[in-house]
Symmetry: C2
Subunit: 412 residues, 2 copies
């Protein structure tokens, strides 16, 4: 089934807002085996929308339109599409009640504009909006399925997931199954190289890699009409992925490394603390973004100066004088003294040069030491990262989280 | 002049890659006074590209196409557009030399595919690619200006800024000038309400607001042919903005609050430290993302447990027992003891409930205390934030940075 996406909104057209709706819908359709051939963005202009819509219903089986369903004068998507199909409008009393409740609950006064949102083309279905006020519209006409959804991403996504996708899935016997492999500890290009033979010969399954600093997501997607056959195919590839990446596969979903570490800590009832220099709180911040993590994440220090390293972590002045803050010894003292201070199970330290300044021939930008102390043992890794300050900080944080994960897995 | 944007690339069509090129080009064109009427995204399919391109040259004066200029078989943008105009191809020797140098420097072997990138339609101009190998193409035909640019954003942006925009600017006497107002300490809807009368009557200048948690950017853009007249108009609006927001305007550019605080600290030779509970290192992480900030940002602690608050910051057990970790008293002890520990000029503390769990009737999710100690004085603010865990953390961090900024401005 050929699908296409039309996004209506002046804020998209002027580039004031990044169009994430198009990507979301395209990705959901593609991963369920539907082809998307065109995505068009245009402003709140009925004449131009009519032309684009006319081209769309001629060449596609499914047309998803977002935006222009609001209460203001320039929201004309519904009216334009209804006029195109020669449909008249009727006020939907169920939607009126719903909207009145919505406004009553908030003590807002409704204006006539608001009621306009409850007008539904005769013969079309209203799609309930669980996140906002404007209902969506579902029209089946001339063999084409048309879905009009609101522009705000949270409203659009909920309606697309709960209403549009189930209907479309019902119409195809094609099954599409994906498996995810989150890989840490390998560079992006290294992962790509390690599966290049698989990628080059892909037809079914298809293989896509998404690289982030120090973290790579591989998605393997197979399609067919028989679930057992598809899973058999995916099993073969999963075994190959396990063989090549082993313990470096840290998750099988679109999960971050910090979330994986958080889950592991909570599951194993272990605690963690951080001592960060060049990552400046990035690891702590990633960990504390996880709901409920206070059970496992206890404390962090950001020792961004030599004084802070001495005062907060008892790093010895003679160590700093002799080998400097960016050194194996400092990383070691940082995580070992942190362990005493925090009494946590896993203690991680990072010290390095994130740049762009502060590097030297001996200690260039990108030189980073990561230390992990757990179970009475300390492990230090010397890393050389490339990229911008931000990239070096991210890679360092992810390297540290990789090592924390290893340490938790190795705990008795 | 009516412009439109066509983005070619299967990775965009499937939603694997977010289309940031469209936004970039649209924003640059809009802010320079050009209208963008359509943005279309499609795959590497010559037939569909021909149809879309044909519609584009009929309705627009300028067509910018990105993607499909690479060396592989499916990169067919250039060939499709040249065939549409009936132009033949000619190898550009200057581009061949440039490409040979590029490959020689890297010790790569060139294949015939690579040379295909140096073929330029006869009558068209090659646009130098300073960031990669594929040159762009500039065609003037039938009163339409067509620019073909590569898909990778870094290459596209450089060519758009250096080549395309200067040509287009030259063709118009229209001047477009923007001013920015970064506002902190006010909620998004509050800012919108405070300028609603200006927004509602906008024609020239136009006013756009971009809201982030605890931070709002207002852009006021005026156009005309006389710079003095435009600036006069903008001065009037600037005065009005100053009158309404005063000291809450923290910058006049697309700058973050953390960057503003960093600049202020460096300029005034002042130092700063953080004690974070519910923000978990977010403030430290934002501050240490700034290059060169180690002169000003000295240390941070993430005290995510009562033990950590006691051990790292000497918060009294009796305080925690009596009024709890989320309280004015704890926020006060945190920033005051941090001041002793850090010896920094400005010391900020945050303690609160970011949720989704951990709230109670007395202390609901979103209750946050921010403390700032500077110059011997402590200021505590009690805040009630709404939203997701992430939003509450971000709002808390920005509130803290607002207060830090105030404190630096008030320092003798």
């Amino acid at each position: 089934m050929n699908c296409e996406i039309i996004c209506v909104g002046t804020e998209l057209l002027t580039g004031d807002t990044l169009n994430t709706n198009s990507q979301y819908i395209a990705r959901e359709l593609s991963k369920n085996g539907f082809s998307v051939h065109f995505q068009t963005t245009l402003g709140d202009n009925p004449g131009r929308l009519k032309d684009v819509f006319e081209a769309a219903v001629k060449r596609s089986d499914v047309v998803v339109v977002t935006g222009g369903l609001g209460p203001t004068q320039d929201d004309l998507t519904k009216e334009t599409v209804a006029a195109f199909f020669g449909m008249s409008m009727q006020r939907d009393e169920a939607q009126v009640r719903k909207m009145k409740q919505h406004f009553d609950r908030r003590n807002y006064v409704m204006t006539d504009n608001n009621f306009r949102q409850c007008d539904i083309p005769v013969g079309a279905k209203a799609i309930n909006n669980t996140q906002g006020t404007a209902p969506g519209i579902h029209i089946e006409k001339n063999g084409v399925s048309v879905f009009l959804l609101p522009g705000p991403p949270s409203e659009m996504k909920a309606m697309f997931d709960l209403y549009v996708m189930p209907i479309l899935k019902n119409r195809t016997s094609q099954l599409v199954i994906s498996r995810y492999f989150n890989i840490c500890d390998f560079g992006e290009s290294m992962v790509e190289e390690m599966i290049l033979d698989l990628v080059n010969h892909q037809t079914n399954p298809t293989i896509a890699t998404y690289a982030k600093p120090g973290e790579v997501l591989v998605r393997i997607t197979a399609n067919g009409t028989d679930a057992a056959a598809i899973n058999g195919l995916l099993d073969k590839y999963s075994k190959e992925m396990d063989r090549r990446f082993g313990r470096h596969i840290f998750a099988h979903a679109q999960k971050t490394l910090a979330e994986t570490v958080g889950d592991l800590l909570l599951k194993k009832h272990r605690t963690m603390a951080t001592a960060e220099s060049c990552t400046g709180g990035l690891i702590a911040s990633q960990m504390t973004a996880i709901p409920g993590i206070s059970e496992a994440f206890k404390m962090g220090v950001v020792t961004y100066s030599n004084e802070a390293k001495m005062r907060l972590l008892d790093v010895q002045k003679k160590t700093l004088d002799r080998v400097g803050a960016v050194s194996e010894e400092t990383a070691r003292e940082m995580c070992e003294h942190l362990a005493t201070l925090s009494e946590c199970d896993v203690n991680v330290s990072v010290t390095g040069i994130a740049g762009p300044d502060g590097g030297s021939a001996e200690k260039p930008v990108g030189l980073v030491y990561v230390g992990v102390h757990a179970d009475g043992r300390t492990r230090i890794e010397k890393c050389k990262f490339a990229g911008s300050r931000q990239t070096i900080q991210k890679r360092s944080a992810n390297k540290a989280l990789c090592m924390v994960r290893e340490a938790i897995l190795n705990l008795q």
